[in-house]
């Protein structure tokens, strides 16, 4: 039930983010979710895309430093308290979140949360036990 995320090392240089966007766009790769972690002179662009392996190959061929990482995507109700409910479950079970980001699905009342855990398998078990819907690769393609 783990999903694959792409992390790209980016210098804080004009047009660098745009380069990634157009490169993936030209190759018909669709970005489902993204976030940027930044420090003063560089950043890490994290993306969930429909074809992660293809995307990494394309990026690497163009000289980008890109890496695949396992993440867990969780579906919650798109309403106040939706996020807190999931976080409470994780907290109660001592699951550590390294980082997370979220986005809202089109044409639905669900929101998608992307988590990076230090122990993803344990996290998945806990989430399942608490009946929290984990999104798999196939479900993601349908979004």
């Amino acid at each position: 039930m783990k999903l694959t995320q792409i992390s790209v090392f980016l210098e804080n240089r004009k047009g660098r983010l745009c380069d990634v966007g157009s490169l993936l766009g030209n190759h018909g790769i669709n970005i489902r979710a993204l976030t940027i972690a930044e420090s003063p002179e560089f950043g890490i662009l994290r993306m969930v895309v429909d074809k992660p392996k293809d995307a990494v190959d394309i990026l690497k061929r163009k000289g980008f430093i890109a890496k695949l990482t396992d993440i867990v995507a969780v579906e919650v109700d798109d309403r106040p308290g939706g996020l807190a409910q999931v976080l409470q479950v994780l907290y109660d079970n001592s699951i550590n979140v390294e980082y997370m980001y979220g986005f809202v699905e089109k044409f639905s009342d669900r929101a998608l949360l992307v988590f990076r855990f230090d122990s993803p398998d344990k996290a998945i078990a806990v989430l399942k036990k608490n009946k929290i819907n984990i999104v798999g690769t196939k479900a993601l393609e349908k979004i």
Partner: protein
């Protein structure tokens, strides 16, 4: 102008007598040098088996030069000529490729060094009534301890504060009415620029003199500093291989630095051919120690460029005067008074598996001080997708660089292929500093 001397007899000795002193001391120095592993074989090849083989000072020309590389190869004891028992201190300095060099001192050696510094201080007109704030770094770097012992010998009130912490420096200058400071010119300018910010004004101080060295600066910078602080600033020259500060120092006339020639034989040579140059011709400074028992050095090539002034100084000292250092014969950088070789930076970077082979060193001015930025490319296989991990990597490189080059660099991580590729090593350094 009133001229004061620490040791008038030797400071104003006539040149012929000085040459006799040099010859006698050179013979003894050759005898000590022959006790070291390094010179034993080198002098043998030059046909010198004893100090007695030296008949005149011109025989010095038959002795090959000693270089920084020789010192590195001799690390740790290849140039030690006494029993370690008789050594009371040692100073190491960073080598060009991570291997340091070492200079040992016996009690005699330190006493002689201290005497040279005392002479230098008195030559500037300072004395035991002065309050001396030593802003040079203490420790293995010779700038701090060298002046410290000389100032104590003279009887000055010494404040051994060391480098950095500008606000505390100002507070001490105010509280103890410091009259003399030992400082790098860039730090002197930095202090001036921070006065208002830290709530001080020049009227809080009683500063009269500054001894400025450890980095090259122009006559204009000296005048600027003298005007800004309303003080007299004196140029100081030294290098750890020749003890440290106190090798050559300006007197009250401030026209060149008197090199203490009873302690060192001074030669200026053409860097490529090694041929001796006459007065007023710029070349590489070469020194032979005459008063050092533990680590005698013969014809040591300093890599510093300068010339010797013609004629006698108005102060009557007969020891010849060296010009300001006008440059280097190698790629050594001087960053806030600290000597850094690009090869030291390279050596550290090559040790770190996470970064690629391409790097660049940027030097620029941030206010009056130098800022050193090291840019490296990260190696794609080592990227795990974590920001934290990159910060850890940055800190790791910074710590290792700090350990090697003493100063704290600014680190920048870049994408592979984003730094320009250079063929020559020297081009890896981009020095954007305006000369002061």
């Amino acid at each position: 102008m009133e001229i004061t001397y620490w040791n008038k007899k030797i400071e104003t000795i006539d040149r012929d007598a000085l040459r006799k002193v040099q010859l006698e001391k050179l013979k003894k120095t050759i005898d000590s040098a022959l006790k070291t592993r390094f010179y034993k074989s080198r002098l043998k090849k030059a046909g010198i088996r004893s100090g007695k083989d030296i008949k005149s000072l011109s025989d010095l020309e038959g002795i090959p030069f000693t270089t920084k590389d020789d010192l590195r190869e001799c690390y740790t004891d290849g140039l030690l000529s006494v029993k370690l028992d008789d050594v009371i201190r040692l100073h190491t300095s960073s080598g060009t490729t991570g291997i340091p060099t070492v200079i040992y001192h016996t009690r005699h050696d330190l006493d002689k060094w201290t005497e040279l510094v005392a002479r230098s201080i008195i030559a500037t007109g300072a004395g035991k009534k002065d309050i001396f704030q030593n802003m040079m770094t203490y420790g293995l770097f010779t700038g701090g301890l060298g002046l410290h012992y000389g100032a104590e010998k003279v009887g000055m009130t010494v404040i051994p504060v060391g480098g950095g912490n500008t606000k505390r420096q100002m507070q001490l200058m105010k509280d103890f009415k410091t009259t003399v400071v030992h400082i790098t010119p860039s730090y002197m300018l930095h202090i001036y620029s921070k006065l208002e910010e830290y709530g001080f004004s020049l009227s809080d101080f009683n500063l009269k003199k500054a001894y400025m060295g450890a980095e090259p600066y122009s006559e204009n910078t000296r005048r600027k500093i003298e005007k800004l602080f309303n003080i007299e600033a004196y140029n100081s020259y030294g290098l750890s291989e020749m003890n440290g500060p106190g090798v050559a120092f300006e007197c009250v006339y401030k026209t060149g630095m008197h090199a203490w020639e009873d302690a060192y034989i001074l030669e200026i040579v053409e860097p490529k051919s090694g041929k001796a140059l006459e007065e007023e011709k710029e070349g590489e400074i070469v020194f032979t120690t005459l008063d050092r028992k533990a680590t005698p050095l013969l014809r040591y090539r300093t890599r510093d460029l300068a010339f010797v002034y013609k004629g006698l100084c108005k102060c009557k000292r007969t020891h010849r005067r060296l010009s300001r250092i006008t440059g280097r014969t190698d790629d050594m950088l001087i960053v806030n008074g600290v000597n850094v070789f690009p090869s030291q930076i390279e050596e550290v970077i090559m040790r770190i598996p996470e970064v690629g082979n391409n790097y660049q060193v940027h030097l620029e001015k941030e206010g009056a001080l130098d800022k050193l930025t090291v840019k490296v490319e990260i190696y794609s296989k080592m990227f795990k997708g974590d920001l934290k991990e990159l910060d850890v990597l940055k800190e790791k490189i910074k710590t290792e660089l700090k350990a090697s080059i003493i100063i704290n660099p600014v680190m920048e991580l870049h994408e592979p292929g984003s730094l320009p590729v250079f063929e020559g090593k020297a081009k890896r350094v981009v020095d954007l500093r305006t000369k002061i």
